[in-house]
């Protein structure tokens, strides 16, 4: 058996549980000292590989690595950087090989979403096209939940739980105030292309907690008059209503609703946000006092209320990536396969990376009600297990005691820098 080092990096928007995958990778690699030497993390994703800026995770204690399981965001830094094709930028790939060879890296673990899967696929080609022996495995991660061939993507379940809880809590608030004050609450959530996160807002209402909700998905073109009629009807019937809106909602001409507030007729620049645009529309058209919130990073960083299911899956996928690597796999992504809805049972399978890269999974039509403003029972059946369970971090002085790694650099071996 050959002993080689591993490279691990985080890519794209970070999540509440991407570090749980890192934990799964590093802890599992440490269980294979006959196969995997050190795990080097790329500082700021693939950029760390290109610039030979590697972090020596073997310097971190077992306790610190275990703490990654309950620490949000990217402990090694992430990046928004997409590798070009081998033909367009051969120098990048040659540099990667140079760095990997210098540090004897035989395993490449890349933890990200759709763009990162594409990067990982390209790196896997290094073996074939440039003759450098490397196993490249992609570990799924994205709050957007838009990767194909996996039941869900780590990060999504925790955002879904956060948004469902926030929607329920804020709805109780506005219901309390509606008699003399606020009638409508608007919560803007992430989701530029797909309505998965807005759909999670629909879980706030159930048979014990009746909440008049209106969900706005990017999949459904926004129609102002029909939307206003619904809000008006809900307020008249229930006294109040809550709107959960995807940041990516567009009108029938394809214009983002947020852009309606970004440039006025005189070219004034954006104040941004879909929620404030809706707030203004409701106030002007219906006269209802309203409040709005934009969750932004709070939703994807909210490790304090992460889904236990999500944490377990994130860890298991990191673990499986390493197990599959030592068993010889390459150019694959471990994936979640759902075996049953209730109780939720799942296992780890695997998908060829070529089937994952650059494919986007939208919210299916059968998950959206006919009027376009609610989720269906099928959607609820899909979503509910993903937010099941709490996995609270430890606290100190009233705050989550998240780990901060030392992130010591591996001494550079190459004579020249590389500009990206």
């Amino acid at each position: 058996m050959t002993l080689r080092n591993a490279f691990y990096a985080q890519s794209g928007g970070v999540t509440a549980v991407i570090n749980a995958s890192a934990c799964g990778v590093i802890e599992t690699a440490r269980q294979h000292p006959d196969r995997i030497g050190k795990v080097y993390a790329g500082r700021n994703g693939i950029i760390g590989a290109l610039t030979e800026d590697l972090i020596d995770t073997s310097q971190e204690s077992a306790a610190a690595i275990a703490g990654l399981k309950y620490t949000p965001a990217g402990a090694f830094g992430s990046c928004r950087y997409k590798l070009k094709g081998l033909e367009q930028n051969r120098a990048q790939y040659e540099r990667l090989i140079e760095v990997f060879r210098a540090h004897d890296i035989g395993y490449f673990f890349y933890n990200g979403g759709g763009d990162s899967a594409d990067t990982c696929l390209k790196v896997s080609h290094l073996s074939e096209h440039l003759g450098y022996p490397l196993q490249a495995i992609h570990i799924p991660k994205t709050v957007d939940n838009d990767l194909p061939h996996t039941d869900t993507c780590p990060g999504f379940g925790s955002v879904a739980k956060y948004i469902a809880i926030a929607t329920r809590e804020a709805s109780l608030d506005v219901a309390s105030m509606a008699a003399t004050s606020t009638r409508v609450f608007i919560l803007e959530v992430m989701g530029r292309h797909a309505g998965w996160i807005a759909a999670a807002g629909g879980l706030a209402a159930d048979e014990r907690h009746p909440v008049p909700l209106t969900l706005l998905f990017p999949e459904i073109p926004f129609e102002a008059e029909r939307f206003l009629a619904r809000v008006d009807e809900q307020v008249r019937t229930h006294g109040y209503c809550t709107v959960v809106v995807s940041e990516g909602v567009r009108d029938s001409s394809g214009q983002f609703l947020a852009d309606a507030g970004q440039h006025d007729a005189f070219g004034h620049v954006q104040l941004g946000g879909t929620a404030p645009v809706l707030a203004r529309l409701i106030k002007q058209s219906l006269g209802f006092k309203n409040h709005w919130a934009v969750a932004d990073y709070l939703q994807r960083a909210a490790r304090h209320i992460a889904s236990k299911t999500d944490v377990e899956q994130a860890y298991a996928l990191g673990q499986a990536a390493v197990e599959k690597a030592v068993n010889g796999a390459t150019a694959i992504m471990p994936a979640i396969q759902r075996l049953s809805d209730q109780p939720y049972r799942w296992q780890i399978g695997e998908v060829a990376l070529a089937d994952v890269a650059n494919v986007e999974r939208k919210l299916p039509g059968e998950f959206i009600s006919d009027d376009g403003y609610a989720i269906t029972a099928a959607c609820r059946t899909y979503l509910t297990p993903l937010i099941e369970g709490e996995d609270y971090p430890p606290y100190r002085h009233g705050l989550p005691d998240y780990v901060v790694l030392q992130n010591r650099a591996v001494p550079k071996k190459l004579p020249h820098p590389f500009s990206i």
Copy 2:
């Protein structure tokens, strides 16, 4: 001993723990069946009293009342409605007496902030001026933390904990992204007049968690150039920074920063929010990519991560209000007295309502750093115990299983309605 009924109502903006005070009132009243008959809750605050819209809390099970301790917002509905003085609107006071007499109400518990303390004080005058025997006791509640003569106000500790956690979590996120993407994160928090909540953002950073923070308080006039210089310096030194801004920040001319975006030179109406105004300023002046969030109701409804200290104090104040009432008190407010910082020890004292009504406690100067952008050690010492401890609600299907009361109306006894 006379047996009389009690009236309880919730007033003003609701909080994560105002129902814990309701729980304290109702559970304690049930322990005094020789003195207190039924607890009638006003539907939507004092409006329920004026309109004889009373809720019979005796119809709720012990389990449902116990559930109030972990349920956010106002279970009986709140209101934004301030009673005028006796001279200006004698009819309102005569109506209150009429309703209270019809339902034999001898105890009046009003749960709110500064305006509500004023209402409660006026109601306490009914006894003296209109000859109706009534004991009126105010139970403090406000996320603004601006009531005098109490160490803190229930609701504040939980918002402080939420904002401190959100700031820490989002800061980890932006730190991960800063190499190639977002450099600045801006979180807008409540606090129109006082910077207590923004100050809580300062707790996100500590010796284990270094976070470059810039806090903007309403107490400190906003100076754009000095602010931008600080953000620029923090980004250059640390790679990123996080700004926590009170919604009520104003410039040196006294104009709300949020208004800068609300009406442009052509009279276009508001898109609102202080955070997006800062986001635009930073982008235009420094060029840094940034993200912003507006927490709005999410912060004050976030019972899922309430401060255990806050929950305990909210309950204890409701309990004390009833104990003091059966011991003959009136026109007072039970208050928190701090005995020591660490460990935090406190007891319930009492304050004359006349000393509370219409007095606003701002963030003291010695809690703000000399440059105006940070909290001092004294502020940290004050705030830390208030966010100590977690008090998680029960969950069902991945969501907090908050109670929903039946809220059955007490049959009306008066022949005529009252318009408010």
